[in-house]
């Protein structure tokens, strides 16, 4: 067992992924690498990720974060990833600039909650949920680089499978990361 912060160079690089305030579209895009996922699992070990169902993040070489920071749980997960991942990457529009969820920043949080849980169409038992199990919403949605240091950004809604594959293969080989024109888009 290695102590924290010491990387076993003989081991496969470890990757963790998380979806904060996103739609899992970026994770779905990662699965769009299709059969290359078999190559990927030969080359890397997946740690905490919705793909492995491992719930807590261990020491990793690479952390991929989808989604922005919208609630207290997002904050906790993001900070844990920053502590444990040598390289942290913002994947997709929401992680990069807040994306669609950040459109709620134009409104006060109370307005948003009342629109959904009090005045919303089809609401039968109006009332803003306040169960302690539910993470508290932040007053604004933030891109992840406003909370922790981010090492690299992959824009896109979502970034295409080719973009993610280009990034992962370049990162694994230690080559400079370079994309073709088609691989970088914001939508």
């Amino acid at each position: 067992m290695l102590s924290r912060g010491v990387i076993d160079v003989s081991a496969k690089p470890r990757i963790a992924t998380a979806s904060l305030c996103g739609c899992f579209g970026c994770h779905t895009s990662l699965l769009d690498i299709d059969e290359r996922i078999l190559q990927l699992v030969d080359l890397v070990e997946f740690d905490c990720s919705p793909l492995t169902d491992i719930k807590t993040v261990g020491d990793c070489d690479l952390g991929l974060i989808e989604g922005g920071v919208a609630n207290t749980e997002n904050l906790e997960v993001l900070r844990a990833f920053r502590r444990h991942c040598r390289t942290l990457v913002a994947v997709g529009a929401c992680a990069v600039n807040g994306g669609i969820p950040a459109m709620r920043n134009a409104f006060a949080l109370r307005e948003c909650l009342e629109e959904s849980y009090v005045r919303g169409v089809g609401v039968y038992h109006p009332g803003i949920p306040r169960d302690p199990e539910i993470p508290l919403l932040l007053d604004r949605v933030h891109p992840i680089h406003e909370v922790v240091k981010v090492d690299y950004f992959l824009p896109g809604c979502p970034p295409s499978a080719e973009t993610l594959w280009t990034f992962l293969t370049a990162w694994l080989s230690g080559e400079p990361i370079a994309f073709s024109y088609h691989q970088i888009h914001y939508d």
Partner: protein
């Protein structure tokens, strides 16, 4: 006697009275820009067309070309400066590309691709700005306005209406509309105006159609703006 300047080591002819931007465009050399449109007087407000002249950064669209002038455009330092300028434009507004009908045909987005912007870098301002949907044919989303004043210039100099102006100072600067209510629907603005056609972002958009071109077939899907050119220069561009 012919006059020439040297742009990134290349000798470029120009006619006295032309700007560096005019000279570059005339020989097909792309200098990224947003507020510049050759049909209107240069404005110099977006700052994206910064070039190096005599060790200083100047805007190519407002600087007169001079005989023997040496101009740097395609350098790492200038690229980084332009990237920062575009990042500032992005964080000052609410540019949500996945939710914008102009995405894929947007000059602001295309310029951001050209300058290699991967993230906004700076903290987002998330300003609270309204959407004006009062006009039957066009809408204005002030969240996407970069204050380039192209609509101001087109309405004033081509349409002779002066529908638009910029009011306020600094961060409070904003586009205003000349009508009793301040709404577009109560102004002299018409869908046939040139001012309706010049916006380099998704701020001024036609109504009753949306997402007509599928992803992959939009203006900047296949080739960069340095190859394709400005949105408004396109035949049949809206």
């Amino acid at each position: 006697m012919s006059t020439t300047l040297r742009l990134d080591g290349r000798e470029i002819p120009f006619t006295p009275g032309q700007t560096i931007m005019d000279a570059a465009l005339a020989v097909g050399v792309y200098i990224p820009h947003l507020c510049h449109n050759p049909d209107y007087a240069p404005h110099g407000s977006c700052r994206v067309c910064m070039v190096g002249v005599n060790g200083r950064l100047v805007s190519a669209c407002t600087t007169a070309a001079l005989d023997g002038m040496t101009v740097e455009s395609n350098t790492e330092t200038i690229a980084a400066t332009r990237r920062s300028i575009v990042q500032l434009l992005f964080v000052e507004g609410n540019h949500v590309c996945p939710a914008c009908e102009r995405s894929g045909s947007c000059q602001l987005q295309a310029v951001a691709y050209y300058v290699g912007m991967l993230s906004p870098h700076f903290p987002q301002c998330f300003p609270q700005r309204p959407v004006d949907a009062s006009h039957p044919d066009f809408m204005i989303d002030f969240n996407r306005c970069i204050l380039c004043e192209l609509c101001v210039r087109a309405s004033r100099d081509h349409d002779h209406k002066r529908v638009f102006a910029v009011s306020g100072r600094g961060l409070a600067s904003h586009l205003v509309i000349d009508s009793p209510s301040g709404l577009l629907g109560d102004s002299q603005f018409a869908a046939s105006d040139r001012a309706a056609q010049v916006c380099p972002t998704g701020a001024i958009l036609p109504k009753h159609r949306g997402y007509e071109q599928p992803i992959g077939q939009r203006l900047y899907d296949q080739a960069p703006i340095s190859v394709v050119g400005d949105l408004r220069a396109q035949p049949g561009g809206d």
